[in-house]
């Protein structure tokens, strides 16, 4: 029987309080890391664990940390809690139900990389969750897990909760940095990567909330154990967030590599009210759509790439036969045209043109050329923007038009 790593405390009464967390052996990983391990040993363990980024890109966390140069500048950690990817709500659960798990992961990561100030960048709408995080952080200061002399080891760390103000682009790591510096969230040209030049031009690690929350378990139980919970090259579990036309929408922590069909039909209870499955978006809105006959898939980064989609944030949106595909396309086109930051022309203009065309289709005024125009515009965004938002718009839009071409054509003026 595989174990739960991230959600094990969620059902407990007052699971967000430090006393409950300590009772469940919380903060023992921090003790072990700070008192018995060197930063190099921690880095090795996390690298061996193949902990891949849970925000969407899947970059190995340990490798990311190792890119931070040893320079005479302050270093920063930004926990990415922006969680704007449509369909995604897992990080909210972690922060609301077990904020100390995240804090513990942050402390160990900072000790490993030599960081003394961490920020948790949380989306502005999550005000209640931000307050809970702040309470948890003050508890951690009181008990000596944060502050000037953590567990009397001489290591010091402060954590600041920073609330965003409503912009999807701030979940992109360099957009997040700009926003945290008090500016518009315009993504930066890479390289240089944030590991060398990040927040205030200083070396910066940016990890997703779920990624950081896995670190304590890796320290306590080891990399081998962690890999066994998932796949050798993609360790641990994922919190799958299932929403849409299913009986039991919600979060399900399951091993990396669990079948998509099982997640929908076994864990989330199958389709709602006897509806028939039409399509699934398997990794947040940015992920290319899958038809109902394409869901016999393992949910890990590599399998989804093979299926020409993306595991992304592991947010699964389930769409039934009665939902017109045009409604799906409309929501996707509207979202990206609203959230494009406007910096790169292909994305700014492309997403708004696609949105206008799709609106025309919805009004029943679509013509044959329109579907081709959407594909052409999407193709002209793909790979031509500073940040991944352009691709994140182009890929799902193209996949919807290509895979559901017949249905879309039937909505056109004949």
């Amino acid at each position: 029987m595989k174990e739960k790593i991230l959600t094990k405390n969620f059902g407990l009464k007052n699971s967000f309080k430090i006393d409950v967390y300590l009772e469940k052996k919380g903060y023992t990983a921090v003790r072990k890391a700070l008192k018995e391990m060197t930063p190099e040993q921690i880095l090795d363990e996390v690298k061996k664990a193949n902990l891949r980024g849970r925000g969407g890109a899947g970059f190995p966390a340990g490798v990311k940390w190792s890119f931070v140069p040893d320079v005479d500048k302050p270093k920063y950690l930004c926990a990415n809690a922006d969680e704007g990817e449509p369909g995604t709500f897992k990080d909210r659960y972690i922060m609301a139900h077990d904020p100390h798990l995240l804090i513990e992961g942050v402390i160990i990561t900072c000790f490993c990389v030599g960081i003394h100030h961490a920020f948790i960048y949380i989306r502005g709408e999550y005000e209640a969750v931000a307050l809970r995080l702040e309470q948890a952080i003050s508890e951690a200061y009181e008990k000596g897990f944060l502050g000037k002399n953590i567990l009397k080891t001489g290591f010091k760390l402060d954590i600041t909760v920073h609330r965003g103000a409503g912009a999807y682009i701030c979940g992109e790591e360099t957009g997040l940095l700009e926003s945290l510096e008090g500016k518009r969230g315009y993504p930066r040209l890479k390289p240089p990567f944030p590991a060398s030049i990040g927040l205030f031009q200083c070396p910066t690690v940016i990890n997703n909330v779920e990624t950081l929350s896995n670190v304590p378990a890796i320290i306590l139980k080891g990399a081998d154990w962690f890999c066994q919970q998932g796949l050798p090259g993609d360790g641990g579990t994922r919190i799958f967030g299932v929403s849409g036309m299913v009986k039991n929408p919600g979060i399900y922590e399951l091993p990396v590599g669990t079948s998509l069909r099982d997640i929908i039909f076994k864990h989330a209870g199958g389709m709602k009210e006897g509806k028939t499955l039409k399509a699934v978006i398997p990794g947040g809105m940015s992920a290319p759509i899958l038809r109902a006959d394409e869901i016999d898939l393992k949910m890990d980064f590599d399998s989804l790439v093979e299926a020409k989609s993306m595991l992304g944030s592991a947010a699964i949106i389930v769409i039934d036969e009665e939902t017109p595909i045009l409604e799906v396309l409309k929501a996707v086109a509207k979202f990206y045209s609203h959230e494009s930051c406007g910096q790169c022309t292909p994305c700014r203009i492309g997403t708004s043109w696609i949105n206008k065309i799709v609106k025309r289709l919805v009004q029943g005024k679509g013509e044959q050329e329109d579907l081709k125009a959407i594909l052409r515009l999407a193709n002209n965004i793909l790979g031509k923007t500073l940040c991944p938002l352009g691709d994140a718009a182009a890929m799902p839009i193209s996949s919807i038009v290509e895979k559901f071409n017949d249905e879309l054509e039937s909505s056109l003026i004949q």
Binding site: R163, G166, V242, M245, F335
Partner: protein
């Protein structure tokens, strides 16, 4: 004319600024506090914030016009923000938005004549397990239907 901040907000702003290695980085939290104080961010408030953080007023304007949660215009006492993203629309958000339009007799983006309600449609709120959902000021409401919307609005005075 410079707007009057309450002593309590001034204290909070000072404390917030102290959390950041550079003053200008506290712009978003300071704007959140300022908006909480005045209900929105009039130009005078933008200028006051710029002065406080020793940055140019245009830097504040850039932020206010970029982030959807920062408002240059007054909103109603209750800002109803209905999610119109994918999961919520699969589960009927559009009908609920129509219901609210008819019930409040305003279009999205507008405020009722008595300044009680502002209606907006927003992108994903990150509460898809409870779709269709909405946020009123900072409170989340999920699993909505017409009946539930009625009772929620009735509970707001």
């Amino acid at each position: 004319m410079s707007p009057e901040f309450s002593e309590q907000t001034k204290k909070k702003i000072k404390e917030v600024i102290s959390r950041y290695p550079r003053m200008e980085a506290s712009l978003l939290p300071v704007l959140h506090l300022t908006q909480q104080e005045f209900g929105y961010l009039p130009e005078e408030a933008e200028r006051a914030v710029a002065k406080m953080l020793r940055i140019k007023p245009v830097r504040v304007r850039e932020a206010v016009t970029f982030y959807t949660m920062l408002h240059s215009q007054k909103k109603g006492k209750y800002h109803i923000q209905v999610c119109s993203n994918l999961t919520c629309s699969i589960l009927g958000a559009e009908k609920l938005i129509d219901y609210l339009r008819n019930k409040l007799k305003i279009e999205p983006g507008e405020t009722t004549a008595d300044s009680k309600f502002t209606l907006s449609t927003v992108e994903c709120l990150g509460a898809c397990e409870a779709a269709p959902c909405m946020q009123i000021n900072f409170d989340y409401y999920g699993n909505l239907d017409k009946k539930r919307i009625d009772s929620i609005l009735e509970s707001l005075d």
